[in-house]
């Protein structure tokens, strides 16, 4: 299993979602929230300069990369700052570093919050990211689907109906 940015994000959200997604059981196409996120992504910054580029590194796609200032931009629809967003961007920085680009930084943009969040990857963060990759491999290669997390945030997840459909 090849870890990618989506899986890193899911690792920090819900292990069941990670396992299902990695096993191709996907629900994102049924989700209004995902469709909205896509829209936002396409329309939030129409004036985004020419120099931003989309790049693909080891199977992960960075939507907006600024090669001059070495900044990874990530747009999030969310109305709160999430640890999983940070992890996703740190993973991008890790990939850049592994591909010979040192000193890049990240910027998460929350158009709804009108706020941004800077992300960096220090030397001691590298083993942390590597541990995530190992975790992903361990979880995904298991035959057993992880338990669902009984959390209020499940309500907005595209897997909600899948996880919670049951008979009394």
């Amino acid at each position: 299993m090849h870890a990618n940015a989506t899986l890193v994000n899911y690792l920090h959200l819900c292990h069941r979602k990670l396992w299902l997604h990695a096993n191709q059981i996907r629900m994102e196409h049924t989700s209004e929230a995902v469709a909205e996120g896509k829209q936002l992504h396409e329309h939030a910054y129409p004036q985004r300069a020419e120099r931003y580029r989309e790049i693909i590194l080891d199977g992960s796609k960075i939507d907006f990369y600024d090669p001059y200032d070495k900044v990874v931009h990530e747009i999030k629809k969310s109305d709160k700052l999430e640890h999983s967003h940070m992890a996703q961007v740190q993973f991008y920085l890790y990939l850049l570093r592994r591909n010979g680009i040192e000193g890049a930084t990240g910027l998460i943009e929350y158009p709804k919050l009108r706020q941004t969040q800077t992300v960096r990857l220090d030397d001691d963060d590298v083993p942390v990211v590597e541990a995530w990759v190992a975790d992903i491999e361990r979880i995904v290669s298991s035959d057993q689907c992880p338990e669902r997390i009984a959390k209020s945030k499940c309500r907005s997840c595209s897997y909600f109906d899948f996880c919670y459909a049951e008979e009394e």
């Binding site: 191709q24 059981i25 049924t30 109906d161 919670y164 049951e166 008979e167 009394e168």
Partner: protein
């Protein structure tokens, strides 16, 4: 919001830029006013009339994952254009196949499907017991007792033919009550198919077809393979997993609707026409029934474990999810049993 669209009129469907265009054509071949149908609003197409279309249209529908189901002049389901699979999941396929191949695993799923179907049959009958309480007719309570008895032998079955035998008896007992339920206007006279011999049988066949195609369309939007089934034999005919899932929903979606429409006099014997070797529903009645079915599918109930309102159509999807979870070893499958 994507919705199924039903085409009764003859005409030409074509791709026009990124939307669908339907041009009705009358019997003399004169074109009528074209209508546009945004592709984003179409979940699938049901074709009852004569449809003229070209490959450009099917390519376009395929890209958007829109299936097309065809019915012939006698309202029989003839087949579907299924868009290319877009949710392939190797693991899901393998687990589904494994569950079919293992006799032990297969019978468990098949038994659950029968239990769900029988529970929903009993739910329909119990409602009609209350309605018929004033009359001195014991046929419904008797049928309930017989079905409950048959249901008890389900867990003891160890192969599918044996289970199917019980299922056949349950259905037969169930259909024997139809004369009591709608006997004043319609006569059941035993279940007959291919072709149905009387009005009520024609109605049941048509309704079951609608239920089956609704299940098929739903399965298409999950990672389940519609050809690998548990109760029905795979590949014997049609997409047999849709037949499996339809068993659970037929009493609630089709039979209830039939009773409701007959009791409200929305369907009458004059809505049918006898033809050689069978009975056919007239076009206006067919439209009314399809409309009734469509409205029913949009009705919502408050789902107990999700805690939100879900439509009848969505219940079918939830059934697919539960089956997926069972096959993946996440959670044992328990069939949907209506509680109202």
């Amino acid at each position: 919001m994507k919705q199924p669209k039903y085409l009764f009129n003859a005409g030409r469907m074509s791709r026009h830029d990124n939307t669908l265009k339907f041009t009705p054509v009358d019997e003399e071949g004169n074109e009528g006013q074209s209508r546009h149908l945004p592709i984003e609003q179409v979940s699938e197409l049901y074709v009852f009339g004569s449809l003229d279309a070209n490959s450009a249209l099917y390519n376009f529908l395929g890209q958007h994952g829109v299936s097309v189901h065809f019915f012939n002049y006698y309202e029989h389901y003839t087949g579907s254009f299924m868009a290319r699979e877009y949710l392939l999941a190797g693991k899901m396929q393998v687990e589904q196949t494994k569950a079919y191949l293992s006799a032990k695993k297969r019978i468990v799923v098949a038994q659950r499907l029968i239990e769900g179907a029988a529970a929903n049959i009993l739910r329909v009958l119990k409602y009609h017991t209350n309605r018929n309480a004033g009359r001195r007719d014991e046929s419904i309570p008797t049928a309930i007792a017989v079905i409950e008895q048959l249901l008890m032998s389900v867990p003891g079955t160890n192969d599918v033919p044996m289970l199917m035998g019980i299922e056949g008896n349950i259905r037969q007992t169930y259909y024997s009550t139809f004369d009591t339920i709608v006997g004043e206007t319609f006569c059941m006279d035993g279940r007959s198919k291919r072709p149905p011999q009387n009005e009520l049988n024609a109605l049941i066949s048509f309704g079951n077809m609608l239920c089956y195609t609704a299940c098929l369309s739903t399965i298409y939007h999950t990672q389940l393979n519609p050809t690998i089934s548990f109760l029905h034999e795979p590949g014997a005919r049609r997409y047999s997993l849709a037949l499996d899932i339809a068993e659970i929903f037929k009493p609630i979606l089709v039979d209830r609707l039939i009773f409701r429409m007959i009791n409200k006099r929305q369907l009458q014997p004059s809505d049918f026409r006898a033809e050689i070797g069978g009975c056919v529903m007239k076009e206006a009645a067919r439209k009314r029934f399809v409309q009734g079915f469509d409205e029913l599918m949009k009705e919502t109930i408050k789902h107990r474990s999700l805690g939100r309102s879900v439509s009848y159509r969505h219940l079918i999807k939830l059934e697919c999810y539960k089956l997926q979870k069972h096959l993946l070893g996440v959670e044992e499958y328990r069939p949907f049993k209506a509680w109202w």
